[in-house]
């Protein structure tokens, strides 16, 4: 059938008529919602969706407002990165096994991509996967893995063939985070907390059934994950935008204002508003089925804006800007860029231009994929990975 706003709304009302959240266990409610195809409407039927256009998800959220949700902030990596990749490349068994508990939040996912020696140059990664009968044996070190300590599964890229050029020797796996040989260590960052982890993989054995995509196709599979990550970061409409946080401080503290700060704030306000409009235009294009290239730029622009805004706020606060709320080394449950205090926001925003693709890499992508500018001379494309300089 072809879904429209009315039929989706009708389906929601029918679902609610049969499932009263006030009288059901939260998890049971979420499982039932998944089974009713109201998890992500653009997914296929039987996998939490209706095969409906993506924008109709908004109708579901409106109709089911106030009912228990899956706490998306806690399971963002599963929702934003693992799920679309599993949907695109998983076997039927994998889709059936993983998508439901991923969406309900029963199973938390993490991402095992970056390595100390492979950041922007992700394809150079060194973690090995060696076939041993029906299993793969994984050895290596991953880094910048958020929620690894709470994760049941990880999406993992590893090198299965060091004798071919780097992009061609990779394979994508689902890593069992409870398997022997998986060690997770918190990685403290400049904010004082450990939002991320290092993950050491030592002789970790994964059955071949946890491979996602073909052997040697890992780079292509990973591109799907990364593209979804950047869209998720750049396209997120945060409930509380950074400009509003800073503007609120400005409004409430007239004694701190100077002409110099005023001019900078006005310029940033314009930048934030232009970015808001750019995002709105992008979403209109997506809804109209004309996906524009603007998405690549949103993450880049947001990082710069957040860094400037938070820098301004600390300076504006003067003596209060010299203080910090808490340096305790702890693992936060979730990250709120606009939360805590100005100093935290300033420090945390520094990561915005690094995580999920550095601003430098994003500028390369815009220049080459959007503007069509020629690539730089490359010396690493036709050389076996094992022969690359490091």
């Amino acid at each position: 059938m072809t879904w429209d706003e009315e039929s989706v709304a009708e389906r929601c009302r029918a679902f609610l008529a049969e499932h009263d959240p006030a009288r059901m266990d939260r998890l049971e409610f979420l499982r039932a919602r998944f089974d009713a195809g109201l998890a992500w409407v653009h997914f296929p039927e039987g996998l939490g969706g209706l095969g409906a256009p993506r924008e109709l998800q908004a109708v579901v959220e409106r109709e089911l407002k106030g009912t228990p949700d899956n706490d998306p902030g806690r399971i963002g990596i599963g929702l934003g990165m693992a799920a679309p990749t599993i949907l695109a490349f998983g076997t039927e068994e994998q889709k059936k096994r993983f998508l439901r508990p991923l969406w309900t939040g029963e199973e938390v996912w993490c991402q095992l991509f970056s390595e100390p020696g492979a950041g922007s140059d992700l394809a150079a990664l060194a973690t090995r996967a060696v076939k041993d009968g029906d299993e793969w044996v994984i050895d290596g070190q991953k880094v910048w893995t958020s929620v690894a300590h709470r994760a049941r599964w990880g999406i993992l890229v590893a090198r299965t063939d060091p004798n071919v050029p780097k992009h061609r020797g990779l394979t994508y796996f689902i890593c069992d985070m409870h398997a022997p040989g998986v060690e997770v260590r918190p990685l403290r960052q400049i904010t004082g907390e450990a939002e991320f982890n290092e993950v050491f993989l030592t002789g970790v054995r994964l059955p071949d059934s946890l491979r996602l995509g073909e052997v040697g196709e890992g780079w292509r599979v990973a591109q799907t994950t990364l593209m979804n990550e950047r869209v998720a970061i750049g396209g997120a409409q945060s409930r509380r935008s950074m400009i509003n946080v800073v503007a609120a401080t400005w409004r409430s503290r007239p004694e701190l204002r100077t002409h110099e700060l005023h001019q900078r704030l006005l310029a940033l306000w314009v930048e934030a508003e232009v970015l808001r409009l750019t995002g709105a235009r992008l979403r209109e294009q997506l809804a109209a089925g004309q996906p524009g290239p603007e998405g690549s730029g949103m993450k880049l622009a947001l990082a710069r804006l957040h860094q400037r805004l938070t820098g301004l706020e600390v300076e504006l606060l003067r003596e209060e800007g010299l203080t910090y709320d808490d340096w305790t080394f702890r693992r936060p449950d979730r990250v709120d860029f606009t939360g805590r205090q100005a100093g935290y926001r300033y420090l945390r925003a520094k990561g915005n231009s690094i995580e999920g693709g550095t601003s430098e890499i994003l500028r390369n992508i815009i220049a080459e994929r959007v503007l069509g500018l020629p690539p730089e001379p490359r010396t690493d494309k036709d050389v076996a990975w094992k022969d690359l300089p490091r």
Binding site: A247, H262, L266, V274, R281, A367, L371, L373
Partner: protein
Amino acid sequence: MSAPTMSLLYTEVEEELRAAVRDLLTDRSGPAAVLARADTAASGGVPYDSELWTALARDIGAAGLLVPEELGGAGASAREAAVVLEELGRAVAVVPFFSSAVLATSALLACDGPAARDLLGRLASGETTAALAVSLAASPYRPPEPAVELGADGTVLGTVTGVIGAEVADVLLVPVRHAGGRALCAVERTAPGVSITPVTSLDLTRPIATVSFGGAPAEVVAEGDGPVRDALVTGAGLLASEQLGIADWCLTTTVAYVKERKQFARPIGSFQAIKHRLADLWLEVVGARAAARNAAAHLACWGAGSAGSGEVATAVAVAQAHCGTVAVHAAEECIQLHGGIGMTWEHPAHLYLKRAKADEIALGTPGDHRNALAGLADLPGPVS
């Protein structure tokens, strides 16, 4: 016409209009033609291309875009005018569209009464061209005091500087002061006592002039200064689309050039520093498109009464604050990344730089628009 949409995309009708304008400009207003016009301006002549204007105004119907259908116009909205301005900016075309079909027309649309309606009808047909005798440097936030006095005998006396489109206007709309306050008058270009003196202008493709009224007979088309204020706000908001067109041409032309130009045995566009700068510029232009579209959509709905004036003012101020700066930046990068060739008279890049710089000053500088946002966005300045 259906009710204007608040969409930031281009409608099909808008894209058709764009294609028609672009075809015309490609034929009649290519770089060589515009350079020839600029040479005319540089030698002290009037650069406007009246044949091009006739084709644009009458054949495509651009002159009457904003004029209601019942007065012979197209009854279109600011959205369509914005699309035309994007194309005119992209071509730095030398036509009085902005001066007559946007500024003067917007002023008249805010007037009541038969005189204004008559004039709008004449403008809609494209046979008559008007100019608003206000300095291009006027800010919508501080409209200038009228420099012209309307006497009891119905004649006007005074001088206005910095006026665009006056050399080719048939009718001059001039804000005046008189015993009862302020008003807007229409003066025929050919009336006795009207003199128009061209000024050597930075922008070769849209020169300014000094307009003097030495006791010329005038007709009052509206009392008060509301029409001038409306025209300045509408003009500022739509100028953002011209600036978008300028920026878009500069970016596109520069990208094409750096793909072709080789130094060190590589296209210079393969050098990472240049790639990153162009990626940043592209982001600015993408933002300019969203902001300019937003201003046009708000102005279109303002006409239809569905957007509050604070929202319209915010959309206009944001678009101007951003697009004014982006156009200049794009033109400056265009010159720089063309290297020496970009510094020559024979390459059209300088025409865009001059237009962008003049547009930055026109109808409020980016700083003026940001300052207006202090009030509009509730970001008050220091308590002095």
